[in-house]
Symmetry: D2
Subunit: 353 residues, 4 copies
């Protein structure tokens, strides 16, 4: 992209991910938010919903979704919509030359049939599925530079994949018995109040959900299968726990060679992630904890090996709204636009929080 600054639209800007995109882009040196849509809040100032943004983003107000407006005022559009919406919207924007960074699941899976199984819809743009780039820079950086349509990973999938990629690539683990136990904060459920997210019910929980099969497992299996060259099945169970932000993937694996020690595993991770701007490897008596990446785009990754029984816990901690959603989407935007990948994103996490 030749222009110094990109004009950005956000579809679905009143939710938490939309708010986080607005927060990041409000101070991004090379982006300007020109459109922020919201059905419910159209016409209202951004800060009526996102109290934290009072004083930022000029006089920007929410507007109704208008494809013409997006085409006329934006170079890049983030779609932060429920599943099933962007599959119809994105093709139109791409067709008009816009770059689309989709935060919904609609373009993550290459196999259209999986949308019927996991998302209960028939995909209307199966051709675009193959062109969409899965927006995990640690896996698809090169492709992202040329992407017209980016399918950003789910937050649980991001954590799961980052915990597992080096182990799978280095063939360190038994691919038939991978268990990913994920813990997440309440912001993952979005902004709509329900009894399950009502504070008296949600505080202090340790609550498994979708324990018989969580949708994000589909993209984890897809990417791990691509990495390993064989079909990989994963047991993935998320748990709501007592926090607002954060996602931790604890991948419980059995070692391919039961004599593998922790140093060997660490070396594989250190080598694989050594140049990654947003992955930090945690060692020294400490394990990754989302608490220490809050507000940032970092993924902290670590491992623990129990040689006694030839198993390991492979760990990845992210802020679900950042590296798990808006931060990673902006990282993708930077790549798509040819900016420095760290632009507008490279700041330390908050602590304590």
């Amino acid at each position: 992209m030749g222009t110094k600054t990109v004009r950005v639209g956000i579809v679905g800007a009143s939710g938490y991910t939309g708010g986080e995109l607005l927060r990041l882009l409000a101070t991004h040196p090379r982006a300007e938010v020109t459109v922020a849509t919201s059905r419910e809040y159209a016409g209202q100032p951004i800060s009526n919903v996102h109290f934290n943004l009072k004083g930022f983003l000029g006089g920007l107000k929410f507007s109704q979704l208008s494809i013409d407006q997006l085409i006329g005022k934006c170079d890049v559009v983030f779609t932060s919509t429920p599943s099933g919406v962007s599959k119809d919207l994105a093709p139109k924007l791409v067709e008009h030359g816009l770059r689309v960074i989709d935060l919904s699941p609609d373009f993550r899976l290459k196999d259209p049939k999986l949308y019927e199984y996991w998302y209960d819809f028939t995909h209307g743009a199966p051709d675009l599925l193959s062109k969409a780039v899965y927006g995990l820079p640690e896996l698809h950086r090169a492709d992202l530079s040329n992407a017209r349509l980016v399918a950003c990973p789910g937050c649980n999938a991001t954590a799961a994949l980052l915990s597992l990629i080096p182990a799978v690539e280095s063939k360190l683990i038994d691919l038939d018995h991978i268990v990913v136990d994920v813990k997440v904060g309440s912001s993952e459920a979005g902004m709509k109040p329900t009894l399950g997210t009502h504070h008296p019910e949600r505080a202090n929980v340790m609550r498994p959900y979708e324990a018989s099969g969580h949708r994000h497992v589909a993209e984890v299996e897809q990417e791990l299968s691509m990495l390993s060259g064989r079909s990989v099945r994963v047991a993935l169970v998320p748990h709501a726990v007592g926090a607002v932000r954060g996602a931790l993937a604890t991948s419980h694996v059995w070692l391919a060679d039961s004599s593998t020690d922790e140093m060997t595993v660490w070396k594989a991770y250190a080598k694989r992630y050594g140049q990654e701007p947003f992955v930090r490897i945690v060692r020294g008596g400490r394990h990754p904890d989302p608490k220490y990446v809050t507000g940032s785009n970092f993924a902290d990754v670590g491992m623990a090996v129990e040689q006694r029984i030839g198993r390991a816990a492979l760990l990845a901690a992210i802020d679900n709204l950042m590296k798990g959603a808006a931060g990673q989407a902006v990282q993708c935007m930077n790549l798509v636009c040819g900016f420095d990948e760290r632009e507008g994103l490279y700041a330390p996490p908050l602590r304590p929080v």
Copy 2:
């Protein structure tokens, strides 16, 4: 026991488990606390430490540990001490005819060598190890009635075992790939302040600990091996999460027969636990959550089967200080003393909390 009321001593009464024992026994209709020891607080009123107990337990004060005093004033003694203490203390009390209910790990493992591996000490009373009864009533109720020495399970072990017992007994699962991912509240770490339990550091965490091997796995493996008649190895990783009370075991298992459905698993649990006074089976779109057993001695147990890949999540939720410690110890005392097992314990959990 012929007496209507037992005289109870608590060794290590100033910690959280000691406080919970005091709370329960303060209103237990058939017990009277006559001795409560504390090195640090000897001479002080109970409520100086346990603020909640102000107005209860008469004028009881903490005293220094004295074996003579225990022998003279108690029928039953609870030992709530760090590992390595009761292994020397309990034999003396048992020798004098007292019943000992040990909440430490010192008598949980039948194989004395395991104490060297997991607890860094050589056991001085290996003969008592075989006589001690592992204090999980759901496994050893009959033996508990005659026990002189009860070894109460660790809280993580209690949750892990209760989640797995029916599945193992019914041979429903692959015994070679059992993963138990445990989430616990901060009270599990006890009452001593450390940087890790400092509120700004402990709030909102999702923090794995002892991820290369947690001591409680030894008793879980012992009991599951006894149940299944073969050696069972378990991958168990606890995680500190944002709550004060509670422990949830999520046992991730692969089904022995991949076509097993959830109803089959449920039936095994319903049959096994149907008569248990403190086990409740949770179904109907909901999973066990320690939040809903807070303050009670109940274990809520549940399951989710993913037939797609032949796996299940087997779940048990407890209050770590109750069914995971003091509550279960009182349940054992009731059995040891020939009382109704529910005496002083059978009340609903608090909600919301």
Copy 3:
């Protein structure tokens, strides 16, 4: 009442206060719940809503509100309804000889005009207002024994009054500048999810609400005016803070005689509350904190005097669902029915929690 056991109905049993009444009455030795109404959940088992009560209360199910059924099956009825409901319902029940314990505001205020100012309705039973007894046993114990209609105080009012009663009675403070700053947990808002109670928005808050005048101030002013024999006006501001249960009233007062010391204040409180079964006076470097009364009917009361400027902080901490609602209502029931005031209620708080 001659019968050993009272038959109890609960109108509005599916909310938090209803659930807490059910929890308490499930183990109350002299009460049996025969009716529990809920518009939304009629026909469903209690434990579908109150997960904690699984296994208790026999097969009791929620039913639709039926006055005939209440009259036929109950001796005492608790009404736990929104403001404006029991003002019409209670008279009918009282007329048929039932005792009514109203947890709504409908009978708290003696002056019917105050309902128009604070509650936006015209009271249809102004005669009953004068007969209703304000259900704070610490103020109206004698009247409660003969009450046919009890108007239980609001939770903020309970905490405010208990913090102030001895100081007002003993004429220790300037009645023209009383400020009551209240902090409350999220359960005070009830069970209906809203954006304000959505966990990501409600966690970690320090949020004033109804800061220009909270309804509970009306009953506080009424009772303090009665106590002092003059009109008293109070500045009362509640704040939502990060907890599920609890209410703390910090009453900031200026001393009538600026040389009054803390011992003098303490003596007034110790004398006034010395015989109260559910009031505990906290001293010794510690202040009342709702955390240490959780799950119990206790009010912890305390004080701090700053002689430098002649002021004091008078403190009362309660569990808002217990002494602030259901617990106090059961305490009133015990009095109304001639039971020991502590029946079914006298157990220590939970700690830590």
Copy 4:
């Protein structure tokens, strides 16, 4: 200052305020941290203590405090030390031409005798007290530009003052009955674990502390007396509540003219703070809540008037580690160094968190 970039030293860099200074300065475009002292952690990498800073600040390590080193390597020094330390240290640094930004209480009070009353020490540099500038830019911006020694306000004092300044300046309130009720998160207590900050004890609290007189009241009274031209006494009581970050001052005041309405008060605030870069006035059915300034240097200010009884609640919400400590200190540094006041600080708060 002529140089483009200032070299910064931080004395006491291992605490929370030190960590927050490091976090802010790590990305500040015109500052470079050259020295970070810590007695306990000297020789260790910054990220051993401040996990969030892994990957930032180059290879900076903690060092022992050395005045020579500070003089040789720094232009500006932040002192984040316990009370009583910088009163001896700062004079030496100032003497050598360094600018000192003191985050301790040692130079906040103009009257040396107040140090004996409130801080139990005799001040050894009373002359410097008069030259030190109280670091609240909203009160002393002009003086800060030329300050050699800045005394940053306490966090409770910052919130209290920002809530009250316009009301006092505009003579809207009764100066004889000001009550400031403050709520704070756990990070205010610093990084040293104690029983009071132990998570099981600190979670969910509503706990008044130093209720007979909190030290910060001295600086509040000093500044309000200066503003009003008469002696002002304030009742200030802080309360620990369930959050990690945040401080809310609820200033309960009686209106000088009881007919004053909310619009009048709002106008005074809007006028006074209209040009302030880090003060935002909150209205529209919402009140200030520290939750919505987390991670930022903003103070959100608001008000509620109860005309019924001629009183108001004047509110200010800050992040105690930012506008209440490190953020405000950097704001002062920007002023002292002639930078744009917003440099390195002007970013939106995080939400939700």
